[in-house]
């Protein structure tokens, strides 16, 4: 379970973000020390059509790309609209604001503080990870997905 002492923030932009914008923003954010976990939220972009008359055919989409954060490649599976962050402490927030100011020049954004990440495993998490799940990965990846969260190397 997530330790309640770590502050969480979310960055909400006025528009859904292009992969290039997400890449730029994440690279700026990752330069800062004191970020524990990051979660990219938004409507899902599946690689094939999941239902309907054209079920099963490939679904090319400009917003589903692989971006590079630091040295690590991250495959986007959503059209990013909200970025959730868990921080070591609140001192990082001004730096986040500076990074956002640099990237969001065409439209507005907002940084909000609150509790945004899962604090307890759901039934799906239990089915996927079992009773001794690592609390750090809870909520960071879709439990029904075969892929887990990406671990960014060399940040600390």
């Amino acid at each position: 379970m997530t330790d309640a002492i770590y502050p969480q923030v979310r960055i909400v932009s006025e528009r859904l973000l292009n992969p290039e914008t997400v890449e730029r923003l994440l690279n700026l954010i990752m330069e800062e020390e004191g970020i524990r976990r990051v979660l990219l939220n938004g409507p899902r972009l599946p690689s094939s059509v999941p239902y309907g008359p054209s079920k099963g055919i490939v679904n090319p989409h400009d917003m589903r790309k692989t971006i590079k954060v630091g040295e690590q490649e991250v495959e986007l599976q959503v059209h990013v609209g909200t970025i959730l962050l868990e921080l070591e402490n609140r001192d990082v927030i001004p730096a986040l604001r500076v990074a956002c100011d640099q990237v969001f020049t065409q439209f507005a954004y907002r940084i909000q503080e609150g509790r945004y990440m899962k604090t307890a495993p759901t039934t799906s998490d239990y089915a996927k990870y079992g009773p001794d799940a690592d609390a750090l990965i809870l909520g960071l990846a879709d439990p029904s997905s075969k892929k887990g969260p990406v671990i960014l190397q060399g940040i600390k």
């Binding site: 528009r15 859904l16 973000l17 309907g52 008359p53 679904n59 059209h79």
Partner: protein, 254 residues
């Protein structure tokens, strides 16, 4: 006293647009020209130029029972020919799209014949005989009711109405049926309405600018357009309807 249809209350530009779109005597302003062939491609029900498939023989060739209603009602062209029922479905962004699902159903009932509209919160489907549907679709796509960026022709996977727009101003579409060409600024349909890739791109024109959208929108929006609360006449009307229908639930005796 002769009854004169008012179509809707309100003193805002949104209310005026709604009345204008619903009024069958008002001709909708034409703003683009998508050809018949292109529209048939987007709809994806038949190959362009192919014959209409039928659900029954033409009315002239079959014996009809003696029915006074059949004598009164003139069948539409599609019904006369025995066409099968097909559909077109629209998703409208709540960010100042020119039309919205409820308004679509209202105006279609005023303007078109032989239709079965289905209204949902973020999408609206119009079902009718195939050739009638193509005729009506042309009017819905080529006039002010359509904006290439904020309105989507989506037979399935319609999600996008209530989502934020993309950076380029397009409404979210999981299947990305239409894309904005950055060089020309024109929106092109690259898939048909159910997401099957098209052999040829269909251009539907440039997205309208914010000023035009605000002047032609049929949706209230407190952040990007006209707030519903700012239209006192509309609020009063809605509250009156709500009050009366609630009281009627208790069967008031006057």
């Amino acid at each position: 006293m002769a009854y004169k249809a008012q179509y809707g209350p309100g003193s805002s530009i949104i209310a005026a647009n709604r009345r204008k779109y619903m009024d069958p005597s008002e001709k909708l302003e034409k703003v683009r020209d998508v050809s018949d062939e292109d529209l048939v491609l987007i709809l994806g029900h038949r190959a362009p130029g192919s014959a209409y498939k039928t659900a029954h023989p033409p009315l002239a060739e079959q014996q009809e029972p003696a029915c006074p209603i059949r004598k009164i009602v003139t069948p539409t062209d599609g019904a006369k020919a025995g066409d099968r029922i097909r559909y077109i479905q629209f998703a409208d962004s709540m960010f100042n799209a020119p039309c919205h699902p409820y308004l679509r159903s209202y105006l279609e009932m005023y303007k078109f014949r032989g239709i079965d509209p289905g209204t949902l919160s973020g999408r609206q489907i119009l079902e009718c005989r195939e050739r009638d549907m193509e005729k009506y679709s042309k009017e819905l796509v080529n006039t002010v009711l359509f904006d290439p960026a904020r309105t989507g022709i989506r037979g399935c996977t319609v999600h996008g109405h209530s989502l934020r727009l993309a950076e380029d101003g397009m409404m979210f579409d999981m299947l990305q049926r239409c894309v904005l060409d950055k060089k020309s600024g024109i929106v092109k349909y690259v898939k048909d309405q159910v997401g099957v890739p098209l052999d040829k791109e269909v251009k539907v024109g440039k997205p309208m600018d914010e000023k035009w959208l605000k002047a032609h929108s049929g949706i209230f929006h407190s952040l990007v357009g006209v707030a519903f609360r700012d239209d006192a006449e509309y609020v009063e009307y809605v509250q009156r309807v709500h009050s009366l229908r609630t009281k009627y639930g208790f069967m008031p005796k006057e």
